[in-house]
């Protein structure tokens, strides 16, 4: 039997070997802000776990280097990732001295490198399998379900990040709510305003260049500057417009963050609506008019459905972008996961930064996968044009 070598597999194997054998697996700190001490995988894990993790990593390396079926690669990678996830929980228990509430254990570079290498292998195998949109979403649900199960089981409770969470459980969920509200709310507002604007731009050519130019210019303003620019006018409105302050409009806080995210969101929504509508076949439009559709019937029945996948792509861009940008809202008192990030930076407490950053990344990732699946479902395969 002939063995053939997979090029990406070699890189993954090298990364995994480095992460497992040379880089530190976990960091131990006496309390949350002192410098940590590195622990290798052998030191960090109880010996049984060391054996399990190393065996699975070795298996993955072998499977990765050789040209093996995608399903096998995917299965092995996930088994190894699961072992890694449970193992790091075991490391916390193993490294923390009994009765010590201050000591902190967190994953170190070796853990992250291993996770990255295994994730790369899984992602590569998954891409080659070309799963349908539904399967991708099911897969995502399974991964999220696994994370949720591990979290609720208490396996990770000894980890520094979860200790950080435990001491702020209330504010965590409040900020999570604000984060999601900011990201989704500004997206909803941008969709409600942006799609009609896009339709208007499509119909009125002169408006198109002007409006898209302005929106483009807004996109180039750095986000912190945009928040700053908005403080003055919103503050003025709060003071001078009766009732404005009562519904939460103020110079700082959620209002300017919301407005800024909304403004950033407009360009992708408007531009994609314009591009989508422009892509509707000219003959279809001409026929629609010629057989007696009113402008409104043509818009709703022909143009919008045909432009929908492109508009959805704009919404995807905005959602992922907003989930990320909403972190910055914390700088002006807008709340969200950014609160933990900036507090953590201020206190040089890395775990607190991660408490804000990890859920944000997870959220953005989830949104991207779900919307990509939606877009693929909404885009029919009409590319095949047959001739007589």
């Amino acid at each position: 039997m002939q063995f053939r070598v997979d090029k990406l597999g070699v890189i993954i194997a090298a990364l995994a070997a480095y992460g497992a054998l040379l880089a530190p697996f976990a960091t131990f700190r006496a309390n949350r802000i002192v410098a940590g001490e590195a622990r290798s995988i052998g030191e960090a894990l109880p010996s049984a776990w060391t054996v399990v993790v190393l065996l699975l990593v070795t298996a993955t390396v072998v499977v990765a280097v050789l040209k093996t079926p995608s399903r096998l690669r995917l299965g092995t990678a996930f088994a190894a990732i699961a072992a890694l996830a449970l193992g790091i929980g075991a490391a916390a228990g193993h490294l923390t001295p009994p009765e010590n509430a201050y000591a902190r254990v967190s994953p170190a570079s070796g853990f992250w490198i291993l996770l990255f290498a295994l994730g790369l292998l899984a992602a590569d195998a998954l891409t080659r399998l070309r799963p349908s949109p539904l399967v991708r979403v099911l897969f995502l649900s399974a991964v999220l379900g696994f994370i949720a199960a591990v979290l609720t089981s208490g396996t990770w409770d000894g980890l520094s990040l979860l200790k950080e969470y435990a001491s702020r459980a209330d504010t965590f969920w409040a900020e999570a709510g604000k984060h999601v509200t900011l990201a989704l709310g500004s997206l909803a507002a941008a969709t409600i305003v942006g799609i009609p604007l896009g339709i208007l731009c499509h119909r009125v050519a002169r408006l198109r260049d002007g409006l898209l130019g302005v929106l483009n210019a807004i996109q180039t303003i750095p986000s912190i500057a945009l928040f700053g620019i908005l403080i003055a006018p919103l503050g003025w409105i709060a003071v001078h417009v009766p009732g404005a302050a009562a519904i939460g409009i103020r110079g700082i806080g959620t209002a300017p963050a919301f407005v800024a995210l909304f403004l950033y969101s407009l360009l992708p929504v408007v531009a994609n609506t314009v591009v989508g509508l422009a892509g509707v076949p000219r003959e279809a439009n001409d026929a629609a008019r010629g057989i007696g559709m009113t402008d409104f019937q043509r818009l709703v029945g022909i143009e919008f459905p045909l432009a929908f996948p492109v508009i959805l792509t704009g919404i995807r861009i905005v959602l992922v972008q907003n989930i990320g940008l909403a972190t910055i809202a914390a700088l002006i008192g807008g709340g969200g996961f950014g609160v933990f990030v900036f507090q953590g930076v201020g206190q040089t407490a890395m775990d607190l930064v991660l408490l804000g950053a990890v859920p944000t990344v997870l959220l953005a990732f989830t949104a991207a996968i779900v919307l990509d699946a939606l877009i693929e479902t909404a885009t029919p395969n009409r590319n095949r044009v047959q001739s007589a």
Binding site: E283, A284, A287, A288, I291, G292, N383, S387
Partner: protein, 312 residues
Amino acid sequence: MIEIEGITKRYGETTVVRDVSLTIAPRTVTVIVGTSGSGKTTLLRMINRLVEPTSGTIKLDGEDNRSLPDYELRRRIGYAIQGHGLFPHRTVAQNIATVPTLLGWDGARIEAKVTELLTLFQLDPVAFGPRYPHELSGGQQQRVGVARALAAEPKVLLMDEPFGALDPIIRAKAQDDLLAIQKHFETTIVLVTHDMEEAFHLADRIAVMDKGEVVQYATPAEMLVKPATAFVESLIGAGERPFRLLAIETVADAVEPGAAEGEAIASAATQREALSTLLWTGRKALPVIGPDGALIGKVSLDGLVQRAAGPT
């Protein structure tokens, strides 16, 4: 009946259609021909008000076409274009059902109409109804486009180069099918083309356009015998004239008494086909059989040669 009276269309300084007047008899096929850019499409689109004329009026059965909202007018007039213009996100059945749905027909009536039309256009309703346009061949798409235009049983059907995207064999078949359908529904058809062959094949009357003006409006035979201008003559093609003349008449009109040897030709065939057979087989005459298959006489080479001669 379509009465076009003194229609002019200007875009800014340029006059695209200049003072055109035509009367189109009901249940006939009128073909508008001319070179590219001569204003054919613009003239056609003024009939259903996709283009609003600068001056002049158009009446349908005596009624000004501006007497009702444009979209209501268009629902009464069939419209089929080159490249068919089918809606890619709707099935064949949904495409055909578009106008009946706009008109608020009930579901059973729409379904019956779709089935009738698909059958008429030789597309199996069960197999083709649920398909999407991209799953059809070009010829099938074109047929669905015409079926959609006819779904609400319009008295008038406007067609803008409907067969322009088809290859020659499928195009000839589509033209014959169109004539059969026109007889079946007694539709008044106005068709735009730049293909003279197509015009002579389909037309009861031909309108030749040149630089926005109709320079001649006549039956094919009149046009061949008496082209109004040098432009019309060049469009017909001097070398083609005798053959076009024979092509627009049937063998039935050229039957002579007497008998002939060899394989017979049907009286419904064109005289051009008879001539072609005579030349190819090297015979002097062909026996002619009527629609019932009975021998009704002969068609001779000499007879056809006389018929193909122009006025002296």
